[in-house]
Each structure stands twice: as structure tokens, then as C-alpha cells.
């Protein structure tokens, strides 16, 4: 075993030495007494630990370091703190979603040893947080693949959660020297990107497919790594669908804000040119139709998915669009031509966005999605154009 600081060894506090298991707890370092008189802002904070190296940042989720074979392996906390929760919310809203990642490599939880299981996961921070949260009280290794900050399922589809990346990380982290068994626990939804028999050929590790949901990992490990049918089946509960909605809305919002000034401008084109009352009413009503059309397709359809009739998403979206759009225009008392126009626009938007939700579900096949799109997109385009023309013509008829 090798220790880093040579110069100033006498300065190095006793607790920076690892315990019997080779672990240095960071919390114990922070608690160390600080010396010197109290000046401004109370006593001086504790000194930097030897794990804080120039050019690197010590992450808040690291609890301790395990010194093994010349490597310092970060052991992570299994409780999320306030910052993690805040970041989760921002990622869900799509605000920090694009570059929200942890460095790939080997981590651990608890006090991992030579027989501890090796869990493989993605380097999307949201995924990483959900995984470590479920590992409370479990000693295991966590091998994080470089999936470019994307979750396991999507990364497997993009082939970044892949056989080659897995083999690369096994070799880079010198995993074989740290454990005695030769098993890698892969989340089942990663199977799209991993060929178990190729992993065995390339690095000699046996792939064991774990449960779909990390929440089942404790039971899976207790059950001798046998998964029940339930653990192997994907679900799409109301809560799981709800979590996806903010991103659906946020992505769309970025693209459409410019529409609203345009609607008020076009709303002014009536026989009483530039009548303030007409402009206001028509601008407001058409904006409401668009906003509620988006809500219908990107929010109502995902939430009520199993209860809306029909198999095709475009159809489901058109149906909710017809009902909600009809309700809006009935309440607002729009004229027949103008009202029909807005209803068509409403239905087209709702149908299109509902169709786009296929990408967020775990049960739509690409062949099926392509089939429904070929039928739906021409109709959506027709409804949008016809609706816009009717809405513009309304005041003149």
C-alpha cells in the first residue's frame, strides 16, 4: 500500500490514514480541530484533505475513499442531499438535462470487498443518484460506464451503454484485480446494448441481468440473484408517466413562444382593421387554443394514456383535442367558421404532440410508430393548414 504525501508527513493528521478495511472517511477529516485564534467569520474551516487534488473537484456525493492496489476508489453516499434533489428537479424540467453526468469509472457503496457484487450503470447523474439511493446498507462496487450522461435504456439504444464500453471500463479500472468473482450485474434494460456472450469472450466476466428497476436490487441480491417475473417486466405507471411530462412541455415551449405575437398580429386582420377589441379577443383565443392543444397532447394524453380509447397515439391525441378544443370553443362562444378553424388547429397540435410521446414510452415498437406516422402526419398537416385558413377567413365571412 502506498501513501501519497511524503513531504509534510508530520502535518498529515492521523485520521487521513485508512482504517483496517482501507477506507478513509471524509467526514472524520472535516471534523478535525482547526487551530489558530478566532478572527473574522469564526474559526478557520478544516484543512483540505489529500483527496483534493489540483485541477479536480471533490464531489459532494463521495463519502470516503477506499485505498486499494494504488487506486483511490470513491465510496458514495446512499442518501441524497438537498443539492441532489434540486438538481433532479432541474433535470426533470429539462433545464440541466443535457450535460448532467458523473465521471465514469469504479465507485463503491458501504465497504465493498473481494466478494461484493459489481453493479453496472450509466453516468447520467439522475440514474447514478437513483442507484446509490437504493444501495443503502449494501456493500457493492458500482461500475459507471461513459454513456455521455444518458440513462441506461436510452444509452443502450444509442449503443453507448455497450459491450465495448463495458469491456473498456472493466480493463481501465483494473476490476479483475480488486475482486475474486467474475460476475457483472447489468440492469435488464441495458441488455439492448450488451451481448452477454461477447462480454465473456472479451474480458472473461459473466453477465448477470438484474431487475428492470433498481428499487428491486435488494430483493434480487437477497434472492440469490434470481429475478421474479415482476422484476423482469417493464411498467409505465401513472407516476412514471407524470415524471416525463415537464420535459415534454419544456422542449416544446422553447420552439413556440414566437407564435403568440404573430397570432395577435394576424388577429388584427378583420373588416374593422386594427380594432383593438377584435385583435385582443382573436389573439387571446387562438393563443389559448395553442397552449391548451399542447397541454392536451403533451400532458393529458400521457397521464390518461391507458384510459383513452385507441391504440395509435395520434388518434388518442386527436380525440382529447376534439373534446378539450370543443369545450374551449363552446365556452368562448367563437363564430362557426373561426371556431372550426381553431378546433382543427387544436386537434392537429394535440395529435402531433401525443404522437411524439411514443419516444418516451417503454412499449411502442419503431415499426408501429412509423406506420402510425405515415397515416397521421398528412392528416395533421391538412388540419393545421385548413384550420389556419378558416381562422383567418372567419371575420370576413
Amino acid at each position: 500500500m502506498q501513501f501519497l504525501p511524503v513531504a509534510g508527513q508530520e502535518d498529515s493528521p492521523q485520521t487521513q490514514q485508512p482504517d483496517e478495511a482501507g477506507i478513509v472517511e471524509l467526514a472524520s477529516l472535516a471534523e478535525e480541530e482547526s487551530s489558530g485564534e478566532v478572527c473574522c467569520g469564526g474559526p478557520a474551516p478544516s484543512r483540505s484533505t489529500l483527496f483534493e487534488k489540483p485541477g479536480y473537484e471533490l464531489k459532494g456525493y463521495v463519502r470516503a475513499f477506499l485505498r486499494k492496489d494504488g487506486d483511490d476508489i470513491p465510496l458514495v453516499k446512499t442518501k441524497l442531499d438537498r443539492k441532489d434533489h434540486r438538481q433532479t428537479l432541474l433535470a426533470r424540467l429539462g433545464i440541466i438535462r443535457d450535460d448532467y453526468r458523473v465521471p465514469p469509472g469504479l465507485y463503491g457503496t458501504g465497504s465493498p470487498g473481494a466478494d461484493s457484487p459489481v453493479l453496472v450503470t450509466a453516468n447520467y447523474k439522475l440514474t447514478f443518484d437513483f442507484v446509490r439511493r437504493e444501495l443503502d446498507g449494501i456493500d457493492c462496487w458500482l461500475l459507471v460506464l461513459d454513456t455521455r450522461g444518458i440513462n441506461v435504456w436510452c444509452a443502450a439504444g444509442k449503443n453507448t451503454f455497450s459491450t465495448d464500453e463495458l469491456v473498456r471500463q472493466v480493463e481501465n479500472t483494473r476490476l479483475a484485480g480488486k475482486i475474486e468473482h467474475r460476475r457483472l450485474l447489468i440492469p435488464q434494460l441495458g441488455a439492448t446494448g450488451i451481448a452477454a456472450h461477447h462480454v465473456m469472450l472479451k474480458c472473461g466476466f459473466r453477465v448477470v441481468y438484474g431487475p428492470v428497476r433498481i428499487a428491486d436490487i435488494g430483493d434480487f441480491l437477497d434472492n440469490d440473484m434470481q429475478a421474479t417475473e415482476e422484476m423482469r417486466s417493464v411498467t409505465f405507471t401513472l407516476w412514471e408517466r407524470f415524471e416525463l411530462i415537464p420535459v415534454e412541455l419544456y422542449i416544446f415551449n422553447k420552439k413556440i413562444w414566437w407564435v403568440f405575437p404573430l397570432l395577435f398580429f394576424l388577429g388584427a386582420l378583420t373588416p374593422d382593421f386594427l380594432s383593438l377589441a377584435d385583435t385582443w379577443r382573436r389573439g387571446l383565443l387562438s393563443s389559448a387554443a395553442i397552449i391548451l392543444g399542447c397541454t392536451s397532447g403533451a400532458m393529458i394524453v400521457p397521464l390518461l394514456l391507458p384510459w383513452i380509447p385507441g391504440r395509435s397515439f395520434a388518434f388518442k391525441g386527436a380525440l382529447t383535442g376534439l373534446l378539450l378544443g370543443g369545450l374551449l370553443l363552446w365556452v368562448s362562444g367563437a363564430g362557426p367558421v373561426e371556431g372550426t378553424g381553431l378546433l382543427l388547429i387544436f386537434i392537429a397540435i394535440s395529435s402531433y404532440l401525443a404522437m411524439n410521446f411514443t419516444g418516451s414510452t417503454p412499449y411502442t415498437s419503431p415499426t408501429g410508430v412509423e406506420k402510425e406516422m405515415k397515416g397521421a402526419i398528412p392528416l395533421q398537416a391538412f388540419a393545421l393548414v385548413a384550420g389556419a385558413l378558416l381562422w383567418l377567413a372567419g371575420p370576413f365571412i
Binding site: P362, S365, G368
Partner: protein, 94 residues
Amino acid sequence: MKSFRYLEGVATIRVDRQRCVGCSMCLTVCPHRVFTIQEKKAVLVDRDGCMECGACATNCPTEAISVSPGVGCASLIINRWLKGKKIGTGGSCC
């Protein structure tokens, strides 16, 4: 996922009975449980439940399963259409 059913009669998945060695890897990885083992061979019992993720084909040691795999995502398919109608590699989703 019996509560969620998508379009019927479209899934491209096929199992080659001759090649199948009955290792049951496809049963393990399938997130929609569309396989079963009958007479030591994998059999499709719920073809319409298949979402064509390709996990079974990727993990089949004898290449007995064929499926045109991909992501069932409308925006991905639109991007592909816009960039010239090639199905398969390329194109990014959400």
C-alpha cells in the same frame, strides 16, 4: 404490461427454431415477456407485445432471433425522414 397494448400485427420479430438452443437468454432479457420455452425451444407467445428493442437478438448466442431493432420514437423517425430515408444507424432521438 398487459394494460398497455400498441398496434397489432406490425412487430418484425422472428425466431428460427432450427438455430435455437433453448438457453432462455431471450426470456431473461425481454422487458415485455413475449417468449416462453416449449420443448426446449424459445417460442413467441405474445408477438404484439414486442417493442422491437432488440435485447433478445443481441443476447442470442446462436443468432436465432431476428428483429429490426430500434427506438419507437416519432421525433427520431421524423429526423430520419428529413435527412434522407435511411433506416438503421444514425439519427438522434430526444
